[in-house]
């Protein structure tokens, strides 16, 4: 039986870290993830964990710390947000290409500028091609549950993994949560036992060596394979987690999709708000549904295309813009997923929404469905690249 508690998303992540008791944390604070290393540092100070807590002078150094420690054979973690994440960008690529399964908690926040501390997904979207596995939570519960599964996933395919949630909206909101007993957590996560590591004295090795054109593309191909392999691992770990807790997770979550004519594809806390919009519209007899993307990397292209193949129209919701003049990052990937899987009948539009903490209401999503209903009726998409609820 789980432990009934109420915690913010940041508290939930810090608590999961405490239960796991990793070897090393590289830490540098930035709003709204600051509380994570802050809470964790008190666990270190109180002797509740024996993690080496390394306070550094920047996020670049925090990730470098994790890379050094993980390469040495230590399970390493960090937490960050926004500009901190993109300040890490150089080292994120190094971590992935060195195949170091570091775990990074991200409380997502807009990028400057204009300078803003509130939530959107522009930070993680800007590093989505760094080679990290990326899971995104709708709630504090999912942030906690994803974190407990993270190391199992990352270590199985030797890739680093980000556990993302919406800054402030879930990171700072107190909500009910069911925690797993610590001994069960420890048994589930297990010990980190890498096959190759720098401190293995009988096997001298180099990490991060130069790759000439004769080797570089093969290294990248192996990374690509690991990311493809991660899809099955995520599902297997989720199945084991469901056995332990009763809470099931997939690469995506389908909500009232079975007979849906219109659907939204969405990530994070706004998926919960959108579920309420779907419930209300269903009560009015409208056939609407929702797809929540949990795994952004690897991208569940086939699963999304399958889930959308029978709808008449759908909207991909992007809490970040690509500034390419025609769509947001998830809009592009979902469109590619549909075409690659030969699903070309449904009409698609793409909304940029919720940037810089603009509040996303039930009514906001109902407006999207109203637009989709018009598209279904007329067969005309009109403008496919849209901003939701913006003053012009």
């Amino acid at each position: 039986m789980g432990i009934r508690e109420r915690l913010s998303g940041n508290e939930a992540i810090a608590f999961a870290m405490k239960q796991i008791n990793p070897d090393v944390m590289g830490a540098f604070p930035i709003t709204p993830s600051t509380e994570i290393p802050q809470y964790f540092s008190t666990y270190v100070d109180n002797g509740e964990v024996d993690t080496e807590f390394i306070a550094v002078e920047s996020e670049h150094s925090a990730m470098s710390t994790c890379i050094g420690a993980q390469a040495a054979g230590a399970r390493s973690i960090s937490a960050t947000s926004s500009c901190g994440l993109i300040y890490m960008a150089e080292m994120l690529y190094v971590a992935a290409s060195d195949r170091l399964p570091i775990t990074l908690a991200v409380s997502c926040r807009a990028l400057s500028g204009p300078i803003n501390i509130n939530n959107d997904h522009s930070d993680i979207m800007s590093v989505r091609d760094a080679g990290w596995i990326m899971l995104y939570a709708e709630t504090n519960q999912e942030a906690y549950d994803n974190y407990l599964q993270a190391m199992r996933i990352g270590e199985a395919v030797q890739l680093p993994i980000m556990i993302c949630q919406d800054g402030f909206i879930t990171s700072h909101a107190i909500e009910n949560i069911e925690l797993v007993e610590t001994d069960q957590v420890k048994a589930f996560v297990g010990e980190y036992k890498p096959e190759h590591y720098l401190l293995k004295k009988d096997e001298p090795m180099a990490v991060g060596a130069y790759a000439t054109p004769v080797y570089y593309i093969e290294a990248k191909r192996q990374q690509a394979q690991a990311m493809m392999d991660a899809k099955d691992v995520i599902k297997q770990v989720a199945a084991e987690f469901a056995e332990m807790t009763g809470r099931s997770y997939g690469l995506i979550e389908e909500f009232m999709m079975e007979d849906a004519d219109e659907a939204v594809v969405i990530i994070g806390s706004s998926a919960g708000t959108a579920k309420e919009a779907v419930r209300q519209l269903r009560a009015q007899g409208k056939k609407v549904g929702l797809i929540k993307i949990r795994s952004i990397r690897p991208f569940p292209a086939e699963e999304i295309a399958q889930a959308l193949k029978n709808v008449k129209s759908f909207a991909v919701m992007d809490k970040a813009d690509s500034f390419n003049g025609h769509c947001g990052p998830m809009g592009a990937e979902v469109a590619a997923a549909m075409y690659a899987n030969k699903v070309t009948e449904p009409k698609m539009i793409n909304y940029i929404y919720g940037l810089g903490g603009r509040d996303v209401r039930v009514e906001s999503i109902q407006h999207v469905f109203a637009e989709l209903e018009k598209i279904t009726a007329s067969g005309e998409t009109g403008e496919t690249y849209r901003y939701l609820e913006v003053r012009e």
């Binding site: 109420r6 501390i117 919406d166 009910n176 806390s269 706004s270």
Partner: protein, 192 residues
């Protein structure tokens, strides 16, 4: 059926409105409810208007937006009545609770024609008398619990006592002062 109660708090940075909203979430959680307690974040500074929210329900609410049509509004600083539209969206079958030495009848003209219950509590005075300082959040929390009934009164008092004993383990006089402030607020809140 999900009997959701939505509450919006208006205060000024440093007055403890955010803390009060989190304490209310705690109190409701302890009686078995599903809770949300969250402030609206931004470039905060002491004295600037802030807003915080609670959703309290018997089933988990999946909504993660601010609250636009609250059942109850709590105003921790009376001067906000003149700069913030505190009754915006407030349901007429609900109530507003204002930290004020005025009576509900005296205050009602400031509330832009709001037709629901108007409640006042002199949280500043209670706090000064019982704690020696102006910490209005404990009496305001007690007043909204009394007015809304969102947490059963006796359970709330017991829960808060346990919480204060935990928080102020080394300062028993602070525990007693807070408990007196809490009980007085529940008795003295005026409903009009």
């Amino acid at each position: 059926m999900n009997d959701i109660v939505e509450i919006r708090w208006h205060g000024r940075g440093g007055q403890g409105a955010k803390t009060a909203s989190l304490l209310l979430a705690d109190a409701a959680f302890n009686t078995g409810k599903y809770v949300q307690g969250f402030p609206e974040y931004g470039p905060e500074r002491m004295g600037a208007p802030i807003t915080a929210y609670n959703r309290i329900s018997s089933e988990r609410s999946t909504v993660h937006s601010n609250i636009y049509f609250p059942d109850y509004v709590v105003v921790v600083d009376e001067t906000l009545l003149y700069s913030v539209d505190v009754t915006a969206g407030l349901k007429p079958e609900g109530a507003i609770v204002v930290n004020s030495g005025k009576t509900p009848a005296e205050l009602r003209p400031q509330l832009k024609g709001y037709e629901g219950k108007v409640c006042t509590i002199d949280a500043g005075k209670i706090s000064e008398e019982e704690l020696g300082k102006n910490f209005p959040n404990t009496p305001m929390l007690a007043a909204i619990v009394k007015v809304s009934g969102v947490v059963e009164a006796e359970a709330f008092v017991q829960d808060m006592e346990a919480s204060f004993k935990h928080k102020f383990a080394s300062k028993p006089q602070v525990i007693e002062g807070n408990m007196r402030a809490l009980k007085r607020a529940m008795e003295e809140v005026q409903v009009g």
